[in-house]
């Protein structure tokens, strides 16, 4: 994608056309929401990048999005669909809380690392059963991972309502994690913390893994042609299972980081659909780790910006979801013209 050869005139023109199309439809929707498009865009940009607090909050919002997208991307490398990021994230968040208010290892850093490992393990466990069903019984993983989201949501709702409910709170939520588990904010007046750097490191690791490591190559082979991969001695089912487990762990990690870095507890409607936004990001990034960073930034700008938009105009903040999904559709359509159809 970044090679010089790819930069033909046709592709440049198509890319410009794509951006124009997306921006015009976005403008149309903002106008439909009752605001002049130019002003609408300015409100979005101002609300997300206007000053350094807003920039920090935009960067902070990227953390769950990056990891949720990576949770879809890694299984996609081997041709698996992980639609269960939402549930895995919830389980991961609960795992972090469970450790965070019950155990104490004495050292803050150890605490945090253990809690994050547990959250990744919880997420992994929730990705494991659809993966095993897929591999052993050829059960469609799209259906099972998706059903897993609803089951996980109810399971967490039960856990925070009954056994792990904070007795002092009128709302259904867990107690706070111990203070030694909290990842501190780095700047006054902003929730930005080291979690951002954790997420970015994960992306860099994934980039290196995919491009430089043998297993990464085997993932690619499995995804592009499983039969050929099998014949070349790659254990396809093992690769598929492994990729799904990594995906689940990443989604679980997202939940853990959200708890330790921001909310410090799990409450009702903990995730406003991070898993699904992550799916959209991954689709736009064509499963490529570095592109995930860029698209997650853009989505984060849209999300924080549209809150600002709602504050000052009549346009509801839900507009961000519409804008994001429309972008995916346009990019999918243009991809056909760029790369050509799969068959004649």
């Amino acid at each position: 994608m970044f090679s010089v050869r790819a930069l033909s005139m046709r592709k440049i023109i198509l890319s410009l056309l794509l951006v124009t199309c997306i921006l015009s439809v976005w403008a149309l929707i903002i106008w439909f929401g009752g605001e002049s498009p130019v002003k609408g865009f300015l409100y979005i940009l101002d609300g997300s990048l206007g000053n350094h607090y807003q920039l920090l909050s935009t960067l902070n919002k990227m953390v769950p999005l990056i990891l949720a997208a990576a949770a879809v991307a890694v299984p996609a490398w081997t041709g698996m669909w992980n639609i269960g990021g939402e549930g895995q994230l919830l389980l991961g968040a609960f795992g972090a809380v469970l450790i965070g208010f019950s155990v104490d290892f004495g050292v803050g850093l150890v605490n945090i690392v253990v809690a994050l490992i547990v959250s990744a393990a919880f997420g992994m466990a929730w990705a494991a059963w659809p993966a095993v069903f897929k591999i052993k019984l050829r059960m469609d993983e799209v259906v099972t991972t998706l059903m897993g989201n609803y089951i996980a949501a109810q399971l967490i709702a039960y856990l925070i309502n009954k056994p792990f409910r904070d007795p002092r709170s009128p709302l259904a939520q867990t107690p706070y994690v111990k203070s030694s588990y909290v990842i501190p904010y780095l700047f006054e007046g902003s929730q930005f913390s080291a979690t951002f750097f954790v997420a970015v490191s994960v992306i860099i690791i994934l980039f290196v893994f995919r491009r430089r490591l043998l297993t990464g190559y085997e993932f690619e082979m499995t995804g592009s042609n499983a039969v050929f991969a099998e014949l070349s001695g790659i254990r396809v089912t093992k690769m598929k299972l492994l990729s799904m487990l990594i995906g689940g762990a990443l989604a679980g990690l997202a939940g853990g980081l959200l708890v330790l870095g921001m909310t410090q507890r799990v409450m009702q409607s903990f995730s406003p659909g991070y898993g699904f936004t992550g799916l959209l990001i991954c689709l736009l990034a064509f499963n490529e780790p570095l592109l995930i960073l860029g698209i997650a930034f853009l989505f984060s700008v849209l999300q924080t910006g549209s809150v600002n938009l709602q504050l000052f105009t009549s346009v509801p903040a839900e507009i961000s979801g519409v804008l994001q999904a429309i972008m995916v559709l346009f990019v999918a359509a243009f991809k056909t013209f760029m790369v050509g159809r799969r068959d004649g």
């Binding site: 799916l279 999918a332 159809r341």
Partner: protein, 299 residues
């Protein structure tokens, strides 16, 4: 278990099974045409929304249903254009459409009604029932007095069973899914067969959404389809797209939905009751796959 309870359970099962049945019948058509339709969730949701809006504005449930069907067909056409003509990945586009519809309905609800997560009003006209009072307890409760869409859906089961297996369109549909090259060789465009399947699927998912929001609850709430599009997909995968089998499987899922509604008022934690339909669709799918695996092994 007393008799009244069985009656309530039966009626709730039928009520809950109807949208799943309609959606899976629609999805079965695209399934035969070679598309695993993951956009049914979005199709049902957009129809549920526009059914409520138009039923509220016009005071007529029929116009509501029609509006829902039209909205659903339009979205289904969009899906089909991407999948059949632009050759985009059907899962990717399906989920993009589901998320688009989910946020679009919220966005529109905010603009039109200032409602945050739900919109209801006494002015929303409900779908009529087949009101026949014979005086016979069994007939009144078990045969008559369901939503007219329930009767329509059972009629559609047999209509589709005929259409898919006995007509030339059905033949093209199945060839399109099983051996698209043959269709191409016969000079029939695969894309157009899939497009027609999608239009019909849109219409049926439209009916499903209308049943959901104009009969089962008579309101629109955020993401009210709650995964039923995927329960329908599970039904299709289990049945292999055969309409009469779909009828049985939808009824089964309807029973689980009804039990879930019923159990919420019992001592058991409501979350486990709410979990039941999803757990059971995984379990049924699991049993089906274990059985088909055994068959493969013994063969």
């Amino acid at each position: 278990m007393d008799f009244e309870l069985i009656t309530t359970l039966f009626r709730t099962s039928i009520r809950m099974a109807t949208p799943i049945l309609l959606a899976s019948l629609g999805g079965a058509l695209t399934f035969h045409a070679g598309i695993i339709n993951v956009a049914m969730e979005g199709l049902m949701l957009i129809s549920a929304f526009f059914s409520v809006v138009f039923s509220f504005l016009t005071g007529s449930a029929l116009l509501g249903i029609v509006a829902g069907i039209i909205a659903s067909i339009l979205v289904s056409l969009l899906y089909s254009v991407f999948v059949s003509f632009l050759k985009a990945n059907n899962f990717a586009i399906g989920f993009a459409i589901n998320i688009l519809v989910s946020s679009l309905t919220l966005f529109l609800m905010r603009i039109m009604f200032q409602g945050k997560n739900a919109f209801n009003s006494p002015n929303i006209a409900s779908i009529m029932e087949l009101k026949i009072r014979t005086g016979n307890y069994f007939l009144d409760n078990y045969i008559f007095n369901f939503s007219i869409l329930t009767y329509l859906s059972i009629f559609i089961v047999f209509l589709l069973a005929f259409m898919v297996y006995k007509t030339s369109f059905g033949l093209r549909l199945r060839v399109c899914g099983e051996m698209p090259e043959a269709l191409k060789a016969a000079g029939i465009k695969v894309g157009f067969v899939q497009l027609w399947a999608s239009v019909l699927c849109g219409a049926l998912c439209g009916l499903a959404g209308a049943q959901l929001s104009l009969y089962n609850v008579r309101m629109f709430s955020r993401d009210m389809t709650g995964g039923r599009g995927f329960v329908a997909l599970a039904a299709i995968l289990i049945s292999g797209g055969k309409p009469k089998r779909i009828l049985f499987i939808s009824l089964l899922f309807g029973v689980f939905d009804a039990l879930s509604v019923k159990l919420q008022s019992e001592k058991i934690a409501p979350q486990f009751a709410l979990m039941l339909p999803y757990v059971m669709s995984v379990v049924v799918l699991l049993l089906f796959h274990m059985k088909s695996r055994r068959r493969l092994d013994s063969a």
